[in-house]
């Protein structure tokens, strides 16, 4: 019975005007470019470069595109990072416009066209939030900007999933369990909460007290355990005999398992790069290690931790959308 429904829906989907592959291509390009944007945004926070350029939307009085490239490339690194973040943001904005155009030209599903407009509005909103941070010189705005960035990354990822051939064909013949759907949803929410807490930690006001900071750290560590367990569980569940025939979940959960291992390593590295270990005399190396302030390795570890968090959220989004697509077809 379920298979019949599946076939009916698939038949309906294929009876609709064949979509232009360009919508999906734009969505993939948008998602792909959003990741470096998030990475460079993380570098802005790591280098405390949010106010390296004092004006917005201009850069030192110049139009964003007319700021001299030699001054940008050869200037201080924080200016390089901040201006680079703005340029990348502009590229993502152009891709979002392209997505809207492509959707209008090649997308037959009305809701998908409306969704592309939401994506465009989100990227504009995210840019304006970044501008507010500069104009108000307000760290709280930077924190909000840092929380909404990964949400936009999720939206872009979701667009890539929604416009994919997999979504239209949904070739799976297996069944997902109800509890699986709920747990992947919880995984997505927990991964997002991790990023929000991480943004709070990274944008903590310098006049805050340890009494407000330490509970956030404890919450971050606790949620890390929760996210890790959920990822391991989803990974094993998609490889179990009951979900063996479910297509499209095994690869993203496998990637998530690799990512969480990388993320845990980066988390430990981030702790050491920020605070050193509380028991540094564990080994001679740790005892002799001196953190390099704004050091190359330290900065990339800390930024990588934040960017990998966004990547985990993005893959969780893929799993959530694919899971619920399957469940819908099953019912």
């Amino acid at each position: 019975m379920a298979n019949d429904t599946h076939l009916d829906l698939a038949a309906n989907a294929s009876s609709i005007k064949p979509p232009s592959p360009w919508v999906h291509r734009w969505a993939v390009a948008l998602t792909t470019m959003t990741f470096p944007l998030i990475w460079v945004g993380g570098l802005v926070t790591t280098y405390d470069a949010g106010m390296a350029v004092p004006d917005w939307p201009n850069t030192f009085g110049y139009n964003l595109l007319l700021y001299p490239i030699s001054t940008w490339l050869l200037g201080p690194f924080d200016l390089f990072v901040e201006h680079g973040h703005r340029l990348l943001g502009m590229v993502v904005g152009i891709l979002a416009i392209g997505l809207v155009v492509a959707s209008h030209l090649g997308e037959s599903r009305r809701w998908a066209i409306v969704w592309s407009w939401f994506v465009l509005l989100a990227v504009i909103g995210q840019g304006v939030l970044g501008g507010m941070r500069v104009l108000m010189d307000e760290r709280t705005m930077a924190m909000i900007h840092g929380c909404t960035g990964p949400i936009f990354f999720c939206m872009a990822t979701a667009t890539a999933v929604l416009t994919s051939q997999w979504w239209r064909d949904c070739p799976s013949s297996g069944k997902t369990r109800g509890v699986f759907s709920w747990l992947v949803l919880i995984l997505g929410v927990a991964a997002l909460c991790q990023l929000v807490i991480g943004a709070q930690l990274r944008h903590i006001q310098t006049w805050a007290s340890p009494r407000s900071f330490v509970p956030l750290v404890h919450l971050h560590l606790t949620l890390a355990v929760v996210v890790t367990l959920l990822i391991l569980w989803t990974g094993m569940a998609t490889r179990s005999s009951s979900m063996k025939s479910v297509v499209g979940l095994r690869r993203p959960t496998g990637i998530l398992m690799v990512l969480i291992l990388v993320q845990l390593g980066l988390g430990v590295g981030t702790w050491i790069s920020n605070y050193a270990l509380p028991w540094p005399e564990l080994t001679g190396w740790l005892a002799r290690y001196t953190i390099a302030a704004k050091g190359w390795v330290e900065s990339w570890i800390i930024t990588g931790h934040q960017a990998t968090g966004s990547l985990i959220l993005a893959f969780s989004t893929v799993i959530i959308f694919r899971t619920f697509r399957q469940r819908r077809l099953e019912h």
Binding site: L79, M136, T206, P210, F213, G284
Partner: protein
């Protein structure tokens, strides 16, 4: 060639491209409005103006000693400090007082304030960018991330600095502070800022930070002295500072004299720091192995008592372990036992961090927080480490029972021979 940051960011560019005249004023105005609304919605408040925090733990100690509360005297001290030293955004120097020694306030101002680069291309807010998350906005060592670290970040308001070329009781030289900031401290959360020194755009940042550390330390010590005056020395009828007094009021002059005395008392040791530097004259042993043997005997002798804390083999496993002076300042000196949780825990709301003992260094690991050069080890032995249980060794000729220069170098050689860090050993040789 020096690169002028101003011309680099703005002027040079004008040579080949005229700045865009489109200022997008309406976009900026709209964004500002949205920002204000968002802050109200998301953050629940507008911009926060940072202020220096009162030294709550010291106030608690004074109140306990005096048996009363400071009451309005707290506000008087705060007003006095603000009038002399300004705020975290606008630091000042007590120009009105007769002080011959002064900080470079241009550098202090550059280190103060919010993080960012203004249109002139000069970066400001260096303290908040690099230091305040750990050391706090007031230099109290209680920044938001402080509780996660071991040891805790330094509280500069006690004017004690560990790693310096001057004896206990003297202030560090600027070079000492530059070195600590530049090199960082091994095995701790204190990073090294050599990346700033190596970068032409940031090479002067450490100088500005050093001035700001001194500013915070001076301000913090003045605060402690004024609080002591207010709580323990002045009569109930006297006020430590009354801003409403006119110059013609007879009380004004005595108030000014008292404050002048406090500030001068705080500044004088800083002005003398360079004259207090301990000279280091390296004595190379004829036979290194014999020197190490002699050093081992001295290390385990009662004269030096090194082994009582560091252990006979220098593993840091001696019997004597104690708290540092920063912890004792608000615990033992205030009649609180740092080992009794029920006694110190109520003070957490005043900013206290859990008391942690100061472990003696394990020389096996080759990690010397004040520097690994033989001359650094020599200075630690001769001067001790201020604020910690590490005392200065008794030294001849000042103390006839003390060590000779040659014996001190024997101990240095022994200490350096213990570690497994080949580089340090080679350097020692």
């Amino acid at each position: 060639m020096r690169i002028n940051t101003k011309s680099n960011f703005r002027g040079d560019a004008r040579n080949f491209k005229k700045p865009c005249v489109l200022q997008s004023e309406s976009l900026v105005a709209l964004t500002r409005t949205l920002a204000f609304v968002s802050l109200i919605v998301f953050a629940g408040c507008g911009s926060h103006v940072p202020e220096f925090k009162d030294n709550e733990l010291f106030i608690h100690r004074i109140e306990k000693e005096s048996g009363g509360t400071l009451g309005t005297a707290r506000e008087d001290v705060r007003a006095c400090l603000n009038s002399m030293f300004g705020t975290p955004d606008n630091p000042k120097w007590p120009e009105a007082l007769d002080v011959s020694w002064r900080l470079d306030m241009e550098k202090v101002s550059r280190a103060a304030g919010a993080v960012g680069r203004a249109q002139d291309g000069v970066e400001r807010g260096l303290w908040r960018k690099h230091c305040a998350t750990c050391h706090g906005i007031s230099g109290d060592g209680a920044g938001p991330a402080a509780a996660l670290q071991a040891p805790y970040p330094r509280d500069f308001r006690r004017r004690s600095f560990k790693f310096k070329s001057t004896p206990i009781g003297s202030r560090p030289t600027q070079a000492d502070l530059v070195r600590t900031i530049e090199n960082g401290i091994q095995g701790t959360a204190m990073p090294g800022f050599q990346s700033l020194t190596r970068n032409k755009f940031f090479e002067k940042d450490i100088d500005a930070l050093v001035e700001y550390v001194m500013y915070l330390s001076i301000r913090g010590e003045v605060e402690r002295k004024l609080l002591t005056q207010a709580g323990l020395e002045l009569d109930d009828s006297e006020r430590v500072f009354n801003a409403s007094l006119g110059a013609s009021d007879p009380r004004y002059e005595s108030q000014q004299k008292r404050i002048q005395a406090v500030v001068s008392d705080v500044l004088q040791p800083w002005s003398l720091a360079e004259t207090k530097v301990t000279p280091v004259s390296v004595i190379l042993p004829d036979d290194l192995q014999s020197s190490i043997e002699r050093g081992k005997q001295l290390f385990n002798s009662e004269t030096t008592a090194c082994a009582s804390c560091h252990g006979p083999e220098g593993n840091g496993d001696g019997k004597s372990q104690d708290f540092d002076e920063w912890t004792k300042d608000w615990t033992i000196r205030a009649g609180i036992d740092p080992l009794k949780r029920e006694e110190w825990k109520p003070l957490k709301k005043l900013g206290a961090l859990k008391p942690v003992k100061n472990p003696p260094r394990n020389f096996d690991l080759g990690a010397f927080r004040g520097g690994s050069n033989p001359s650094d080890i020599y200075l630690r032995i001769v001067n001790g480490i201020e604020g910690t249980p590490m005392p200065a060794v008794a030294k001849q000729p000042e103390n006839r029972q003390g060590l000779t220069e040659s014996q001190i170098w024997d101990v240095v050689n022994f200490v350096l021979s213990l570690n497994d860090n080949a580089a340090s050993n080679e350097e020692a040789k």
